[in-house]
């Protein structure tokens, strides 16, 4: 894993410097500085409401930062739309996966970027090409299809996630932002996705893996950035931290410790009224 880490050309591919985002009085992000390099998995951890969603929407061009700058390949960049981000090779796989469940797999793979053949009014959807590419791209990740026109809904949750990632990779992603790709999945399905994230990293793509699952993050991550209330509490490398420490760093960890203490105390208190003094 580790030998794939680090950058191909030294610098980060995607970087945020002092990025802040406000919604009215609400501080969604405050002074976030972070980066991702080619061939690494950067895990973005944080509890609900920590600002993960806002941050990825900023990376993917949905939001413009109110302060700070974004850099792609070391070059200052402003994304005016999600399309701009995609053009620069920043692909985001949101939780809805942007797939049409009852539509065929190949048609979903190419939805919005359909291959064409023929000219003028006879220009049409190149189903044979779509079928061939979808088949071979999915074979690479171990999903073998007899029929690429079967509905996406026939795939398992993990496979669907993999198809969405494979699509982003096929269309030239340099940075892949994955929004909670394993959170809705069971262990077996999550392992399919984690294995594929590992392959993607090995192919030299920078992955930002958003999750609140410390165990999934620790399995795959090269570095970890923990967000808390819109602030970056620091980035650490895999060999500088243990799962337990990472869990504690997350607000969720502190919260769990407090909850644990509370329950222990609660158990004593419950006994009290049973033996009134």
């Amino acid at each position: 894993m580790a030998e794939n880490g680090g950058s191909r050309n030294g610098g980060p591919i995607l970087e945020a410097r002092g990025v802040s985002k406000y919604f009215g009085h609400v501080v969604a992000l405050e002074d976030i500085t972070m980066d991702v390099r080619a061939g690494e998995v950067l895990c973005l951890l944080g509890d609900n409401g920590a600002g993960k969603s806002t941050l990825i929407k900023t990376f993917s061009g949905v939001h413009k930062p109110d302060k700070g700058t974004m850099l792609v390949d070391g070059e200052e960049t402003v994304f005016n739309s999600p399309h701009d981000a995609i053009e620069r090779g920043i692909a985001t796989v949101f939780q809805d996966l942007a797939m049409i469940p009852l539509s065929g797999i190949a048609r979903n793979f190419f939805l919005g970027r359909e291959p064409k053949k023929g000219k003028g009014p006879l220009q049409r959807y190149d189903a044979a090409f779509a079928d061939r590419v979808t088949r071979s791209e999915l074979e690479k990740i171990g999903i073998e299809l007899r029929d690429t026109s079967q509905p996406v809904s026939t795939l398992s949750g993990g496979e669907r996630q993999c198809v969405a990632i494979a699509r982003a990779v096929y269309f030239g992603a340099k940075v892949l932002i994955l929004d909670e790709p394993t959170s809705a999945l069971g262990v077996r399905q999550a392992s399919i996705v984690l294995r594929y994230i590992d392959q993607t990293r090995a192919a030299g793509i920078g992955v930002i893996f958003i999750t609140h699952n410390v165990h999934h993050a620790y399995l795959i991550g090269d570095r970890f950035t923990v967000l808390e209330r819109g602030r970056n509490t620091g980035t650490v490398a895999h060999d500088e931290i243990t799962t337990e420490q990472l869990e504690k760093r997350m607000a969720g960890g502190k919260e769990l410790a407090r909850l644990e203490a509370e329950f222990k105390r609660g158990a004593k208190e419950i006994r009290v009224p049973a033996h009134p003094s």
Binding site: S103, R107, L111, E114, I141, G142, E144
Partner: protein
């Protein structure tokens, strides 16, 4: 990039087998959206062939008569099915038929326009109505059911009001000279015993199927109806797709109006009433999902065919045609139940 992908051997044993999907040809066919409509057609045909064969259902004239009824529903039903796949309804197509018919009749018989100009005017107005429907739906995000329900009443009221204002009548006869010649043969001529409307219906279904299955636009129609946000996120121009499909349904109503006016030799403001519901019924019997993103135009073609066969079949059996709607109602329910089963099988088990 591909060079670093996991080689076959690296995969744990058994892990690959679990992901191989085997779909037999029969199985794949049994999950087609139009299956219920095709099967229904065969059943309905067999039923009336058995019950009404000696009263003319099977004769050439009988066949032509149910095909003509089917064509009337189907000409509008085909684009309506496409619009429903794109996730929207158009309840204004019936009123649009009445309006377009009056535009043609009034402009030619009352104002002396050449027939072609009257037809062009009807199509232009229809296209504008479609644009308006589509634009309002896309811009306001209101359900198209409501927007086009408003249009159903507004258009019908405007047609009656304007017709009375301009001509003092709600029914206009065409100028006899317009009921012959090339345009008349094109829209209302006959090929043997079969009226031209049947050719228009089949032709439209072929074109619409080509568009849906073979063009990029077709893929966008499924995307826009399946999940408009997802489709937009991957770059599908959802608004454009929907507006254009609204234009298609409205102009198909103008086409039907042209055929009806030239065939009957007159226009009436109430023409096309309830057609919007018949078209939706044809689409639904044909396996189109009410929530969009799934279905086929071929299904709607067969849905319209069932409509025609039932309506004319009951006529041929000599049973009071009042029973027709009961029969259609039962067909719709049965077809939807059956389609639901098929869709579940397509979506889950393989």
């Amino acid at each position: 990039m591909a060079a670093t992908q996991t080689p076959e051997a690296a995969r744990p044993p058994g892990h690959q087998a679990a992901r191989v999907r085997r779909v037999g040809t029969l199985r794949a066919w049994l999950t087609r959206p139009e299956l219920a409509a095709v099967a229904g057609c065969v059943l309905v045909w067999l039923f009336f062939a058995a019950v009404a064969s000696d009263s003319g259902f099977l004769s050439q004239g009988g066949t032509a008569s149910y095909l003509e009824v089917a064509a009337q529903v189907g000409i509008v039903g085909v684009p309506v099915a496409m619009l429903m796949i794109a996730g929207e309804f158009d309840l204004s197509v019936g009123s649009m038929v009445g309006a377009a018919g009056m535009i043609i009749a009034i402009s030619t018989a009352e104002y002396g326009w050449p027939l072609w100009a009257g037809i062009v005017a009807a199509f232009v107005v229809a296209a504008l109505v479609g644009l308006f429907n589509g634009y309002i739906v896309v811009k306001t995000g209101l359900p198209s059911f409501i927007v086009t329900l408003g249009m159903l009443f507004a258009l019908s009221g405007a047609t009656i009001g304007l017709s009375r204002l301009l001509t003092d009548r709600t029914q206009i006869s065409m100028y006899p000279g317009d009921l012959e010649g090339f345009l008349h043969s094109l829209f209302a001529g006959k090929i043997g015993p079969y009226p031209a409307s049947i050719a228009w219906w089949l032709g439209l279904a072929v074109v619409a199927t080509y568009v849906l299955q073979k063009t990029v636009f077709g893929n966008w129609v499924f995307g826009a109806g399946g999940d408009k946000y997802a489709a937009r996120n991957v770059g599908v121009p959802v608004a454009r797709v929907k507006i254009l499909t609204f234009v298609a349904t409205a102009t198909s109503a103008a086409l039907l109006a042209t055929i009806q006016v030239l065939d009957a030799g007159s226009a009436d403001v109430i023409r096309g009433q309830l057609l919007e519901l018949q078209a939706i019924a044809a689409a639904v019997i044909g396996g189109v999902l009410l929530t969009g993103g799934y279905g086929s135009v071929i299904g709607a073609l067969f849905g319209a065919l069932i409509f025609g066969m039932v309506q004319q079949g009951i006529f041929f059996t000599g049973v009071d045609t009042d029973w027709f709607k009961l029969f259609v109602g039962a067909m719709i329910l049965l077809a939807v139940l059956f389609n639901n089963l098929i869709r579940k099988r397509a979506a889950e088990a393989h």
